[in-house]
């Protein structure tokens, strides 16, 4: 993965995580704020309920007091005090009084709790009122369970006595706690109140009074109701009415007790979570949008940043490649003062150091080479000089002999001297030739044709009886394309390698000439199946004047390496003892050098006869 992609990934991940973290934080804060607001609203509604409860209670008390002070109540009290039990004269009184005072429930009971008249259940005259509070009747309004023909109901009731005569009456009046009561509560948007009449054990959906739509699945309220029934204290729960989270509702349950502390009702305050869920969804949508935009921006920014950051790095890499290719003069422009700038400066110092070291090494090697050259030259010259010295001394001594002997010695010595002098000239000529290696003249060269020309040249030699056991094979890659090179020098180098390969196979073998492509380079391999080389020999193979053969100056492979190097290529050797040797030449195409050349683009191959010269097979 490139640095740019890594950078983009890091940026995108950073943006994503940042947006996610912000979203989570905002959602959490929103949820907490919503819950606080919900709690506040619930508390306000409960306060409102209690206030409304108290206000209505006062109103009920006032109305019941009015009933207790009415003429009808007084008449009934007088009649009862006189011992009358004629319910027929009382039976409709409660209903009329209740209608006058707009009370939903009104009962007139005697001191024993026997109902004399009932507005809500006229037929119940003569029966005991089972819902009377124990002990002293409360002075204020209280929650009461009203027995009705169709069941039971909750009321906000008050009791007032009618103290006339010896048998006082009790007036019990109340207002129904029902849908109308709930509707009278001013609920904030999204809130609703329900009243559960705790008139049966467990949870019964019929006991629920709502001012709005009845919840779809009432059974969800059961655990909350049962919890309040058991614990007799406030409880809360989050209800999921449907799979849609927007339908969720926070439900708060408050127990409502009667005068004898019995749990008669439960006020349920619901607060929809729809606004929160919608807000949360909007936050998530915004986060997704911001995340997407952030990722796009991250891509763009990372691309820009990567290009900005990697450009010096790329320049460094390119410079490193140049250095690796031998261009040690490569310099990197230092355009910043940051780490990359320091790196570039370090690189430039490194290349400068390398240049200095190389020059020093070159100088050292040059001195060593001269020494080696001097040594070789002395060695080479010493060999013919010693016969020359002996011949001249022999000739001097021959002056003491007879003329005939002298002449004979002179003839022999002359021929010897000439031979050795010729030998000396040859030695000097070869050294002179090595010193006069020409610079390559680049022109398009078809490597396959070059290899074929070399093979053609070799085949003439391979017909000789000494070399007939060597087979030459060519494995040429098609569509290889031209390279820019000097055909004569390359021909000489290849020929040298091929001749060396033949020399390496005195017992015969297979000589393989192989071409191929590798990117913008052309590969030429010269392989033999000869005795092979040791690793040490491989290391020293291209050293001038080094030879593994009994004859030769050791300059052949050095010349080959020089030619290849002058073409910008490189040569390597693979060999193992007993398994043959393969020389691998990698030539850059260097076609850009042709633009500066006077040669036409068409390729040129040099035949063996047109070669400028032949490389020694030494």
């Amino acid at each position: 993965m490139s640095f740019g992609r890594k950078l983009m990934l890091v940026f995108a991940l950073t943006v994503f995580l940042s947006v996610g973290a912000v979203t989570w934080i905002v959602s959490s804060v929103t949820r907490r704020a919503f819950e606080r607001a919900s709690e506040d609203e619930t508390a306000a509604l409960i306060a409102q309920f209690r206030h409304e409860f108290s206000r209505r209670g006062d109103e009920v008390v006032r109305r019941v007091e009015t009933v207790a002070g009415s003429d009808a109540a007084t008449r009934m009290a007088l009649a009862v005090s006189r011992g009358s039990t004629d319910y027929s004269s009382f039976v409709n009184e409660a209903k009329a009084l209740a209608e006058n005072q707009q009370l939903d429930f009104l009962e007139v009971v005697d001191q024993h709790g026997t109902i004399l008249s009932s507005a809500q259940w006229p037929a119940k005259f003569g029966y005991k009122d089972s819902s009377l509070p124990a002990g002293t009747a409360p002075k204020v309004a209280f929650l009461r369970q009203e027995e009705l023909p169709e069941g039971a109901a909750l009321s906000l009731a008050a009791i007032r006595p009618v103290e006339i005569g010896e048998r006082p009456l009790l007036i019990i009046g109340g207002r129904r706690l029902d849908k109308d009561f709930l509707e009278s509560l001013e609920l904030p948007a999204g809130m609703r109140a329900m009243l559960y009449r705790n008139l049966a054990r467990g949870f019964s959906p019929e006991m629920l009074v709502t001012a709005s739509d009845v919840p779809q699945s009432l059974s969800q309220l059961a655990p909350l109701i049962e919890q309040v029934q058991q614990q007799r204290q406030d409880a809360s729960a989050l209800l999921h009415w449907s799979a849609n989270p927007a339908d969720d509702e926070s439900m708060h349950a408050i127990p409502l007790n009667g005068p004898d502390k019995q749990l008669l009702g439960i006020l349920l305050v619901g607060n929809t979570r729809r606004p929160y869920v919608e807000l949360r969804n909007r936050i998530r949508s915004a986060a997704l949008l911001a995340g997407a935009a952030g990722i796009v921006l991250a891509i763009l920014f990372s691309g820009w940043a990567a290009s900005r950051v990697t450009r010096p790095v790329d320049q460094l890499a390119a410079a490193a490649r140049e250095v690796a290719a031998g261009n040690w003069n490569t310099r990197v422009v230092v355009s910043s003062n940051d780490e990359l700038g320091a790196l570039a400066e370090s690189f430039n110092r490194m290349t400068a150091e390398l240049l200095q070291q190389r020059e020093q090494l070159v100088r050292t090697e040059r001195v060593a080479a001269w020494r080696e050259l001097a040594r070789r030259l002395a060695h080479e010259l010493k060999n013919p000089l010693f016969p020359l010295q002996l011949t001249v001394e022999n000739l001097v001594r021959a002056r003491q002999h007879s003329a005939e002997q002298f002449d004979e010695v002179f003839r022999e010595s002359s021929s010897t001297l000439l031979a050795e002098i010729a030998n000396l000239k040859a030695i000097i000529s070869r050294f002179s030739e090595f010193s006069r290696m020409p610079q390559p003249q680049f022109q398009p060269v078809e490597v396959n044709e070059l290899v074929q020309n070399v093979a053609r040249l070799l085949r003439g030699q391979l017909r000789s009886p000494e070399l007939s056991s060597i087979e030459c094979r060519m494995e040429l890659s098609e569509n290889l394309g031209p390279v820019a090179g000097d055909p004569e020098l390359l021909h000489r180098a290849l020929s040298n390698l091929a001749l060396n390969a033949m020399d390496a196979m005195p017992q015969g073998g297979l000589l393989t000439l192989r071409t191929g492509g590798k990117g913008d380079r052309v590969i030429v391999e010269v392989a033999d199946t000869g005795t092979g080389l040791t690793a040490e020999e491989c290391d020293r193979l291209f050293t001038p004047y080094y030879t593994s053969k009994t004859q030769g100056t050791g300059l052949g492979l050095a010349i080959v390496q020089s030619v290849i190097s002058d073409h910008g290529g490189r040569i390597s050797v693979r060999s193992r003892p007993g398994q043959g040797t393969t020389f691998v030449i990698e030539l850059p195409r260097n076609l850009d050098k042709l633009e500066k050349s006077e040669f036409p683009p068409e390729s040129v191959a040099i035949s063996g006869s047109s070669a400028r010269d032949q490389v020694d097979k030494e």
Binding site: Y87, S88, V91, N92, W121, P122, A123, K124, F125, G126, Y127, P149, E150
Partner: protein, 466 residues
């Protein structure tokens, strides 16, 4: 001087007597305004969907004549038929049609018209005109056919131009179905013109609306709920109550529950019958009548009231909670029964609620519901006729009981038939209600028979003094 004074006093007394006689003597004219609860959408007397209340029967009689009318003792008297005769077996009857009677369009009432009207009212009978009369061949011996024909639904009606007309004392002047009916007295009525010129009937009025209109002077006669009659009378309104003419009681569904009916007790009563007996014993009819009904009725232990049969006192009406609880205790587990009642009837509601309370005292579970399909129904059925057999037959039909069989001579046959119905334990009689009306003081000679039907032909309007 003293003689002169006596003469003057005598003359003044005679003058006052003449004036007083003149003010109490019936005279023609005036419009009688009625307000009723009934809201019929048709005036056809044989329409089975219409109510059979005394009010409707009274209205039918204003427009349509019947062949026979019943007198105050329930005996058949000539109406459109001047005479009748039954063949042996009482299955074929001949009725002679009165001459000189015409429909409200002036066309004479012919035997063919009478036969056609009766055939429409009862398709089971074979009816045809024969000479000056008609012949009715019943599908079974019908000894009380004249009493049956006195029922208003056998009023002779004819359709002319899409209108329904009769030969009664009043002609329809305006008819707004369910809202208002205006009638005009017929000058040519065969039994004589009614005293009032017209009758206007406002329909579909609640008791409350009626009494308001009465108090505002917009109605001369209005219905009064039985439980309100005493209070309204105490407040000074002219309240007229008829005899106990409406039966109220509980009717059990015919289909017994198999799991209980199979559990036969040694005494022959099934558990269901025991529970019904316990319920019957638990009901305190006196409290219902005295308190809830404010004396507007009387406790009922039978189907027909005592004034009609003379033996109704034989059927007990008093509550016996101890026996109720004992009987209930003989059944280990009692099902919860549902009790339906007419939710639009406040009286039925309180009676039903009292029944529920009484049943609860006996250990029975009874739940008042408004559903039509309940285990027990609280029903109110007006007595249809002054004839006991016709009334019982009609009552049994309304309650869904088997038709009574009258074998033998009355009243033994009537008692046997009624007792058989009671012994079926399908019903528990509660009360007889007394229909009542509030009548303004200027409405004179207001009369009604014992089953609550009004005789509006004899009513006359006294001119109110300013």
């Amino acid at each position: 001087m003293k003689r002169c004074a006596l003469l003057l006093l005598a003359a003044a007394s005679c003058l006052y007597g003449v004036v007083a006689l003149a003010s109490t003597r019936p005279h023609y004219g005036g419009t009688l305004r009625l307000a009723v609860r009934e809201a019929p959408i048709s005036l056809y007397p044989a329409d089975p969907s219409q109510s059979d209340s005394p009010v409707m029967r009274s209205l039918y009689r204003l427009i349509f004549d019947t062949l026979v009318i019943l007198d105050a003792r329930g005996l058949p008297q000539p109406g459109l038929a001047v005479s009748w005769q039954a063949d042996p077996g009482n299955q074929r009857w001949q009725f002679a049609i009165r001459h000189g009677v015409s429909f409200q369009d002036g066309i004479a009432v012919s035997p063919d018209a009478v036969a056609g009207s009766l055939r429409a009212a009862n398709p089971n009978w074979k009816i045809f005109a024969a000479g000056e009369g008609i012949v009715i061949e019943c599908d079974a011996p019908t000894a009380n056919l004249p009493a049956i024909l006195a029922l208003p639904r056998y009023g002779i009606a004819k359709r002319t131009g899409g209108k329904l007309i009769g030969s009664g004392p009043f002609a329809v002047k305006q008819w707004d179905p369910g809202k208002k009916l205006s009638l005009a007295a017929r000058e040519d009525y065969w039994a004589g013109r009614a005293f009032v010129d017209a009758i206007e009937i406002e329909m579909g009025k609640t008791f409350r609306d009626q009494i308001l209109e009465f108090d505002l002077g917009k109605a001369d006669v209005v219905e009064v709920a039985p439980d309100q009659a005493r209070r309204l009378a105490a407040e000074g309104r002219g309240i007229r109550s008829s005899a106990a003419a409406e039966w109220m009681g509980l009717v059990f569904r015919d289909d017994l529950r198999p799991d209980l009916s199979r559990d036969e007790a040694p005494d022959g009563q099934s558990t269901v019958e025991k529970l019904r007996t316990a319920l019957a014993f638990s009901i305190d009819r006196d409290s219902m009548n005295n308190v809830l009904l404010q004396g507007g009725g009387e406790p009922a232990g039978a189907l027909l009231p005592n004034w009609m049969t003379g033996y109704a006192f034989l059927f007990p009406t008093a509550a016996d909670m101890q026996r109720a609880q004992l009987t209930r205790g003989e059944v280990p587990q009692a099902p919860a029964w549902s009790l339906s009642y007419d939710v639009s009837d406040p009286l039925a509601r309180v009676i039903a609620e009292r029944v529920v309370l009484n049943a609860r005292d006996a250990g029975l579970r009874l739940q008042a519901v408004s559903s039509a399909t309940a285990d027990v129904s609280l029903l109110r059925v007006p007595l249809a006729s002054l004839d006991a057999e016709v009334a019982l037959t009609n009552l049994a039909a309304k309650l869904g009981l088997p038709q009574p069989k009258f074998d033998g001579d009355p009243p033994a046959a009537l008692y046997a038939a009624e007792n058989a119905l009671l012994q079926s334990q399908r019903i528990i009689p509660l009360l007889y209600l007394r229909p009542a009306v509030a009548v303004r003081a200027n409405v004179r000679d207001w009369t009604e028979d014992q089953v609550g039907e009004w005789d509006l032909q004899t009513v006359w309007m006294e001119t109110e003094k300013p």
